[in-house]
């Protein structure tokens, strides 16, 4: 492709992302589904042939990769072990319950005739809530100042660790060559992956002084370039070794988060991350073919209903584990519903590994439904809280005298 064509492609992508973002903001929605829809519409499989403006260009692949690395880098940066340790009992009780949501995905995978690995990936898609959507909504709704925020963010941190370990394993299994559990190649891949992750974890928890020195510069420009260089090298290197670049970036983020530079990263690099992440979501849309997505409409909706209900139940019980009132627990439940970026990272792994194309289409459709459902539920939480209170009041009446349940 000629350079002019590539530049024009980039222009079309950025314009589509800008328009999609503007519409989503106007509708009070998360921008994530808007970016994906933009990608679907303009992509090589778009429904309107004359709108198929963007081929899968190399620059999109590059920005998409950087998007994943920076997304996970920031999650690692905010990874706060103290949050887990402070209230470990509540975190582990709530987080353990939350883990059960993965079973819904696993069961659906087998129902749809997926392999064990594919079903395991679907379990991850269904399990992992969207830190990006949830944190943004918490701030916009002002819940961030209330007690439920602590349990919601605690749950998200718990999920982040689970997903880091999970990605390390499934990425190795999926990309390790054989594509099935039990093959020698896959086992070697998992082994390599775990060793690399262990080394990165060591860097995260012991290597702070080194990272501190590497990033020590007064110039914001130098700082930005160094972070991007290190993150890209580590992510790319990990991928070369067959380890998930996302996991590598997560631990690198944790290493930087322990230094005095953490706040500066926010200031200098957040806009970079947002740009690449937007392209990442757009690229997920590009890779999606509506003709594979439409036949999956019923499974997508069924999965959304069942797993949404699952998150509501485990979120509510998680809130109670934190000692929150019924109303605030209902908020935790509502907040945990949204799915987003991680589910798409998993979908991207499925594409890279040439697994059943239905899996990634299912994941994309699912994220579209759940990201919208999550934001709508949170903005309508007053109704949900009323419903929960009425429902629970009815239940306790039916069961006879209620225990000292109100806080």
């Amino acid at each position: 492709m000629a350079a002019a064509g590539l530049l024009l492609d980039a222009g079309v992508v950025l314009a589509a992302v800008a328009v999609g973002g503007a519409i989503a903001t106007r509708l009070d929605q998360s921008v994530i589904p808007a970016y994906i829809v933009g990608g679907v519409l303009l992509g090589p499989n778009g429904p309107v042939p004359s709108l198929r403006l963007v081929g899968s260009a190399e620059f999109i692949d590059l920005l998409q990769g950087l998007g994943v690395i920076l997304l996970l880098f920031f999650i690692g940066l905010h990874f706060s072990p103290s949050t887990l340790v402070e209230r470990r009992e509540a975190v582990f009780r709530a987080g353990g319950l939350d883990l059960l949501n993965g079973l819904v995905g696993l069961a659906f995978g087998f129902l749809l005739g997926f392999t064990a690995l594919e079903s395991l990936l679907l379990a991850g898609v269904v399990y992992i809530s969207s830190s990006a959507i949830i944190t943004k909504s918490l701030i916009e709704l002002g819940w961030i100042a209330d007690p439920e925020a602590e349990s919601i963010l605690g749950l998200l941190v718990f999920e982040d660790i689970v997903i880091a370990v999970y990605l390390a394993i499934v990425a190795a299994l999926a990309l390790g060559g054989t594509g099935g559990v039990g093959g020698g190649g896959a086992l070697t891949a998992v082994g390599v992956s775990l060793v690399v992750v262990a080394l990165l974890a060591l860097l995260a928890f012991r290597g702070t002084p080194v990272v501190e020195r590497v990033l020590d510069t007064r110039s914001d420009e130098q700082f930005l370039v160094r972070i991007l260089a290190v993150a890209t090298l580590v992510g790319g290197g990990a991928l070369y070794l067959g380890v998930s670049e996302a996991v590598a970036a997560f631990f690198l983020g944790a290493a930087v988060g322990g230094t005095t530079h953490a706040d500066r990263v926010e200031r200098v690099i957040t806009s970079e991350r947002d740009l690449y992440a937007a392209v990442f979501f757009f690229a997920i849309g590009l890779a999606t073919d509506l003709s594979t997505l439409l036949p999956l409409l019923v499974p997508v909706l069924a999965l959304a209903v069942v797993s949404g209900a699952g998150k509501l139940v485990t979120g509510y019980l998680g809130g109670r584990a934190y000692g929150l009132s019924e109303r605030r627990s209902a908020r935790v439940a509502v907040a945990m519903v949204a799915r987003g970026e991680f589910s798409l990272v998993i979908a991207a792994i499925a594409v890279q590994a040439n697994l059943d194309p239905r899996l990634s289409a299912l994941a994309v459709g699912y994220v579209l439904v759940m990201s919208v459902a999550g934001t709508v539920l949170m903005s309508q939480s007053a109704r949900v809280e009323d419903l929960a209170e009425r429902f629970l009041a009815g239940r306790t009446l039916a069961e006879g005298p209620a225990g000292p349940e109100t806080s």
Partner: protein, 158 residues
Amino acid sequence: MTVYETDVPGVGKKFELDVEDDARAVVLLHHDGRVEVFRRSNPDADSEKVFDLTRGEANRLGSILEGAYFEAVSTDELQVPLGDAFIEWVDIDEDSQVAGQTLVESDLRNVTGVSVIAVQRGEETIPNPDPEFQVEAGDILVTLGNREQQADFAARCR
């Protein structure tokens, strides 16, 4: 008095302070420097946002609350609650036209619009000098008027 400090992953730091009755002030410092101030009227209530501040505004507000706020102001921009008027100190030296005259003789108030509100003579301060007060070399007149009037007055005292 207890201040509760919490790390809010992905957002920043949260500080909480019990203020009155059951109410609690919640201050959220975002990583990007934005500061949100909330008030929760009782433990069951939802927090209501009071302020959304930039880093600079938050620092300013903080120093006011701390009692440490003051601002050095140059006299060119001095604003006192007198409208356009301000207070000036005018030295009367030996060859001044008004030295030896009473205030009513010099008629400066009618000509310039400036009032002499006090006179400093050595260690002594004479407040509200009456029209018969005689100005002498070495006096310092404390005068009230706007910028133009003050300039006119100072010129006529030379």
